[in-house]
Amino acid sequence: MSEVPLLDVRDLTVEFHTRRGTVRAVEHIDLTLAKGETLAIVGESGSGKSVTSYAVMRILDRAGRIAEGSVRFTGLNVHDATEEAMRDLRGREMSMIFQNPRAALNPIRKVGRQIADILVRHVQAASNDAAEKAVEALEQVRIARPRERYHAYPFELSGGMCQRVVIALALACRPQLLIADEPTTGLDVTTQKAVMDLVVELTRERGMSTILITHDLGLAAAYCDRVVVMEKGHVVETADSKAIFKAPAHGYTKKLMRATPRPGVTLRDLLPEDSPSTSPRLRGEVVARSAAGEEAPPRIATVEKAPHPDPLPASGEREKDGVGGEAEPLLVVEKLVKEYPRQGAPAGLKKLFAKRPSPEPDVFRAVDGISFSVDRGESVGLVGESGCGKSTTSMMVMRLLDKTDGMIRFAGGDIGEIPAKNFARLPARSRIQMVFQDPTDSLNPRFTAARAIADPILRLGEAGGRDAVRARCEDLARQVGLPIELLDRFPHQLSGGQKARVGIARAIALKPDLIILDEPTAALDVSVQAVVLNLLQDLKDTLRMSYLFVSHDLNVVRLLCNRVIVMRTGRIVEQGETSRVLKAPEADYTRDLLAAIPHPPL
């Protein structure tokens, strides 16, 4: 290319000053971006992809600095520019879309005003026509009724809507460069598709250049011309998005691609090629069991024999090894309802004096009469977008939340009738456990890993003295593949994957019959997710548990679940065998969900 590229990053090194010395977040990276090009920077957490973009915008925090190299934007050296010049550039020439749209908007300012502010700041509008132009900007990001939405506060809008407002903000001054930092990570798949389509369309039509920062290789390849793969602060591969999927050159890219759940692969395919057919955890497990003098569980042989067990066995086979086909399923949920009072509903006196009855009912049904069952040894996926009631359902089944109506039968007993606050100390508590969505949030910051794992044993199990509990903890750590020496660490000293293992060890500590997995891998990198999903599958096989897997990601559900239930606005729209539902969905909504998953060009 003979012309000057829009953005030219040469030999960039960014350092952070920390109390343990200087950390190099990004080392000697080169990037070029031509006018009108879309570039994806892909990498897992800690790869330095966000830091790179902050360096380009020069919004590194106090501790960070550009140590070496240069960033040239249309020939201007960003490193040497004055702060005033940078302020003019930001917003007008280059702008950014952040990961959490709600946090990126000022919560106490009307969204329309926020757009007007930036227009006035960059002299794109005068105070008399700024409002009009802001409405236009809202219109362009396809916000319905933009004139009304101008007066909305961020908390009044949904996550997808907020992200549209942020896009409108970013594009208001028609910048030449747009940096989108994980713009859709917190959003549902259908919203993600709508937002990404919008970004691509708007930037194409304006001839803008875009940098998309993401951890999702599929998303990157589907929407970008070129892909830059980063690992630990280095660029390991730069290629056309088509080429990178056909023939990834670098080992890390290959590993990343393998670990990404996608149609037509089994759980074992996600693991790196060089790993042994059975996971190291399983071998550790066998050793631990025989050392403890226990009889090895019969199913373990099956697992070892088949390196690629089909997670979707034929239904006949499942009945054979099930606990008798005629027996009642482990969990039966019938006509379950959860109602919440509608916000802003008139209450008490106000209701009496209201001029006319409000058109909407006073209660909101988060879960609206759903029925399903989970057999012993079965994995059932509960899929839907945020707000569909899947989490409320799982909380009710978990007995952390009281139902409004309906029935929950577990192992023959009606547990739905027991108030949630009394359930904690009943023996039945130990038979239903849960793995939480956010491994960091679900561990007490002041408990060591061992203490966290021991907590359920001390409360509900047969404790049997300090040494016995410690031995059990070590046993569990071995089962979930957590190195024993990490047991005495606090959560902040563990990585995301290690924390997830602690959470899983805690959940299986009481040998429960049913585990509810609430998006257990949503906060993890894909390579860690691959390992954790395999671990969950192995544990299920050896401990004969049932899973209720709550997720929004159909590609992950497909790997782990026998059956899948699709929920929308509190109701079940479709349920059936996973393979059937995913191959030939009956409901339109399921089809929409499937279509929204980004498809890389293959």
Binding site: R19, G48, S50, A424, S442, F447, D455, R459
Partner: protein, 298 residues
């Protein structure tokens, strides 16, 4: 903005336990020498409180009318008062009483206000309302006047100064503990504790309380200074500790009469001790906050 995520990779390199705390403490002091100074001062105060009576040159209560109202000299560093008692000895010996009053009242208010606040934040509902209104009621009075009233009503003893100081500080502790417990009541680890079979009270005491302890300890250090001032103030106006006991507030009160006639040292040195102690605890509180606050952990 996403937090910088590269830090997540290195916990393996971290040392654990007490050593890490000491290391981090050293780092904070290195960053902010004032905190180091406050710690040094704190050590001096504790030393004076523990060993004061054994190391001072004179008996703090022994009067020597021949040497009354002498200015600071080599024999009497801080001079002597109207009864010829050594001001230096009295200032040092008084440290123990003032320190113990402050410590006891802070411990008491932590037990009352801290626990009530944690319960209010965690349970919400009626518990929250009762604790909240109680705190509001206390705050409706000028705090020092309330403390005076309590001591006057309960009787003029050291014990009642402790109680009065604790009650006056109750709203502060209840509010901080409430808000800290409140943001944690729906945290994942609390739910996980429920799944593990913990009852609600157990969750409160074993899971939530340890998490808010660092913030409470900072608060305790900050209130220590106020508690010392409060105790001295009450003694100054003649409530609580009675003469001839060596106590900073009384000494300032006694010395105030001699200021006009030029014997400044009698009130000045106990006042200075008071100021240094309050100053030290405030700085210490700030320093502790830096150590505890993860935002500062760069």
């Amino acid at each position: 903005m996403t937090p910088l995520t590269f830090r997540r990779d290195e916990p393996a390199a971290r040392t654990s336990g007490l050593l890490a705390v000491v290391k981090h403490g050293r780092y904070v002091i290195g960053e902010n020498p004032v905190t180091g100074f406050a710690f040094a001062l704190f050590v001096v105060i504790v030393f004076a409180a523990v060993f004061g009576p054994y190391v001072v040159p004179y008996d703090p209560l022994a009067s020597d009318t021949a040497a009354a109202l002498k200015g600071p000299s080599a024999a009497h560093w801080f001079g002597t008062d109207q009864l010829g008692r050594d001001v230096f000895s009295r200032v040092v010996v008084a440290t123990r009483l003032d320190f113990v009053i402050a410590l006891a009242s802070v411990a008491l208010v932590f037990a009352m206000g801290g626990l009530a606040g944690v319960a209010a934040g965690f349970f919400g509902g009626w518990t929250d309302r009762i604790v909240g209104r109680l705190a509001d009621t206390i705050m409706a009075f000028p705090l020092f006047v309330l403390a005076m009233g309590i001591v006057a009503a309960l009787g003029n003893t050291v014990q009642n100064i402790v109680i009065a100081t604790a009650i006056v500080n109750f709203p502060l502790y209840a509010r901080i503990a409430r808000s800290e417990a409140n943001i944690r009541r729906d945290a994942g680890f609390v739910m996980a504790a429920r799944l593990s079979g913990n009852g609600e009270f157990r969750i409160l005491l074993a899971h939530i309380l340890p998490n808010i302890m660092p913030i409470m300890i900072v608060q305790m250090s900050l209130t220590m200074g106020y508690a010392i001032l409060n105790a001295a103030g009450l003694s100054f106006i003649g409530l609580g500790v009675r003469p001839p006991t060596a106590e900073w507030g009384i000494m300032v009160a006694e010395g105030a009469a001699f200021m006009v006639s030029g014997e400044w040292w009698i009130a000045f040195f106990p006042g200075l001790a008071l100021m240094v102690a309050v100053f030290c605890f405030n700085l210490l509180g700030d320093g502790l906050r830096d150590i505890v606050d993860p935002q500062r952990r760069t």
